[in-house]
Symmetry: C2
Subunit: 380 residues, 2 copies
């Protein structure tokens, strides 16, 4: 068994488990920082490790375009290339390709698109993406899917569900027909689409569950729909997925989104928020977000966040971080990123402990209340 | 004694010593990475420490303008502000103020100038700069000096020597009249000017030596003059300085400049080269410089530099670093900076060992030969 459940909460659907990968055990719920280009932006590999993260997300589409899969394959795979001792999951790039609205053409076979870097022409199929991910060597591979806007008309969503399901079957078949290239086992998760329509989500889930993947992802959320809708869709989908397989909610979310989605049975997350917002000077704390560029922090000598156990959070003052941001110093980006990722990792770690103790619901309510009721101004 | 000489080389003027500061012992020859804004660009404090650096250079002028000296004074001084466990030397900003050609007006009293950040008006005097450095709290303070272009007409250099000497006397007097603000001892070094004119350098040195400072700097070099001229001027000045005081060659230089200047009796260096060039993708190796953006490194899986003992140099391949630079990833700047600073620190450490062993001259010749005769292309 690659995934083992320790506990399911009695009051919510929250679960504590462990996911065995070729590069180590992932305690769930888990949060993956985003490392699109085989680097979590502004952090060294050992700094990422120190945040508590044990699996990072990279992007097959981006790495295929740059540096190219041969470069990474010849290095012995993405772990060796990036000197990352933990696990890696690669997103297929379905989301990225669908963002290239004017530069792509989709058929049932696959997607023709032009590179956002140099305009060169490429053709991705479900099989091709599996080949790319075999070469890159992540522990967990995501298949090529069709990711429509969540508010798209029903027929657009229906077609996306149909294609995603067809492509999932082709990906599974190609996955089973091919071998690892780097001497360790890889897993393939499948992605449930269906926008915000319950019947389509359930239909898609049912089809994919029949394919017996190692894990299931919920795609196409956190793309503009209200939070409560996202939580509801998550709830439907986790109900339709097998208990014994890990569930991964893609691209989500805020700290409250994590807490609420864990309560709905999600085991795995990735999101750019902690890293991207850090680079804009926004820091996550138990009392809500703060913007370090706000003038009030200029002479605040308290630590960035004494509640988050990271080198950055505890050893540098807000005044110093504010100075680094005001002076456009790279170190500001590094310290803020280190703090935010550690905050997220601490959050899922604590969630797991609360699930194991049977106190998740009360803890999640307290977390949300304190986070949302804070009077800390959001700054500019 | 704040400075103690262990050994003077028999064949060259190279010296091995130890400089005692309020924040630790500095083994000399020593190299200070530049941390203008109270951060060595792209490195955390612990990464700087790990390179072997034990003293960093910050800039009083920049910190006075941003974040302002009160912010740093209230933090308990620059070490606490930046959470740097080692020693700090602050340059006065004389060089920076003189670079503001159109924005300054100099009198015998001091310099009126406009901030390069917001155009606000300021007036620096030798006394004012001492006040700033008392507030910032570096271990070693540099006085306000007049730093003319090295190729300026003789009368310009003469006036700069006259002013620098007058201002040095005022700085020393103000230094002696004022107290530390942060509970530890500070030192004031004085700066020898005089362009490339031997009599002016010797005159300036003689005047300053009479003031009995804790150490002496050689200013106004590495500003465009040929290397051999810089070495010669350094040679004159160190001959004119007392044996028992440390000598600091400001803003110098390349690895070969360090090796040659150590041979001429210099104990202390700072330079932006390792940090600035790193951010442009230029790496220092024993075989000369390489530019990591050069296409030839794209699939070179050898370590950045197996001869330099840093986390970056030994754990990441040139191929990975090339990818990070091509993808404009911040981590590229961090790894390159970590390597280059470690290279410089390793260089002065090895120089010291060779001086102690009595083999400095032969080693320095070998170093220079290998560094300069390399066939590694410089890239773009």
């Amino acid at each position: 068994m690659q995934f083992r459940l320790h506990t399911t909460d009695s009051r919510t659907k929250a679960r504590a488990g462990i996911l065995h990968t070729a590069h180590g055990e992932i305690l769930t719920p888990a949060f993956m920082p985003v490392g699109t280009n085989a680097t979590v932006k502004a952090l060294t590999a050992r700094e990422v490790w120190e945040t508590g993260a044990r699996m990072v997300l990279a992007n097959a589409y981006h790495l295929y375009l740059r540096p190219g899969i041969e470069i990474i394959a010849k290095a012995g795979g993405i772990h060796k290339f990036a000197n990352w001792p933990g696990s890696v999951l690669t997103d297929s790039g379905g989301y990225q390709v669908y963002s290239l609205a004017d530069l792509r053409k989709t058929t049932d076979e696959g997607v023709h698109f032009k590179s956002h870097l140099d305009g060169s022409s490429h053709f991705f199929t479900p099989e091709k993406v599996i080949e790319i991910e075999r070469a890159l060597g992540p522990d967990i591979m995501m298949p090529f899917d069709e990711c429509p806007p969540s508010q798209a008309p029903r027929e657009t969503i229906e077609r996306a569900v149909y294609r995603t399901t067809q492509w999932a079957a082709r990906a599974m078949e190609h996955f089973r027909r091919t071998q690892t290239q780097h001497g360790y086992e890889q897993m393939l998760f499948l992605i449930v689409q269906g926008g915000t329509m319950r019947d389509l989500r359930e239909l898609c889930a049912e089809e994919l569950v029949g394919m017996d993947a190692a894990g299931y992802a919920i795609g196409g959320l956190a793309v503009g729909e209200p939070n409560e809708v996202m939580y509801e869709v998550t709830d439907w989908v986790t109900d339709a997925l097998p208990i014994q397989k890990p569930r991964y909610l893609m691209g989500v979310g805020t700290p409250v989104d994590l807490v609420e989605s864990i309560a709905r049975g999600v085991d795995l997350f990735d999101c750019v928020l902690p890293t991207r917002n850090a680079r804009n000077g926004q820091l996550f704390t138990r009392d809500g977000k703060i913007n370090i560029r706000n003038a009030k922090w200029k002479n605040d000598y308290s630590p960035i966040d004494p509640e988050t156990p990271s080198y950055a959070s505890r050893n540098f003052s807000k005044a110093y971080l504010a100075h680094l941001f005001n002076a456009d110093e790279i170190l500001g980006l590094t310290l803020a990123t280190m703090h935010n990722v550690a905050f997220y990792e601490q959050l899922v770690k604590e969630a797991r402990e609360q699930i194991l103790m049977g106190t998740y619901y009360a803890w999640s309510q307290q977390f949300r209340e304190r986070y949302e009721q804070s009077n800390i101004p959001q700054g500019t």
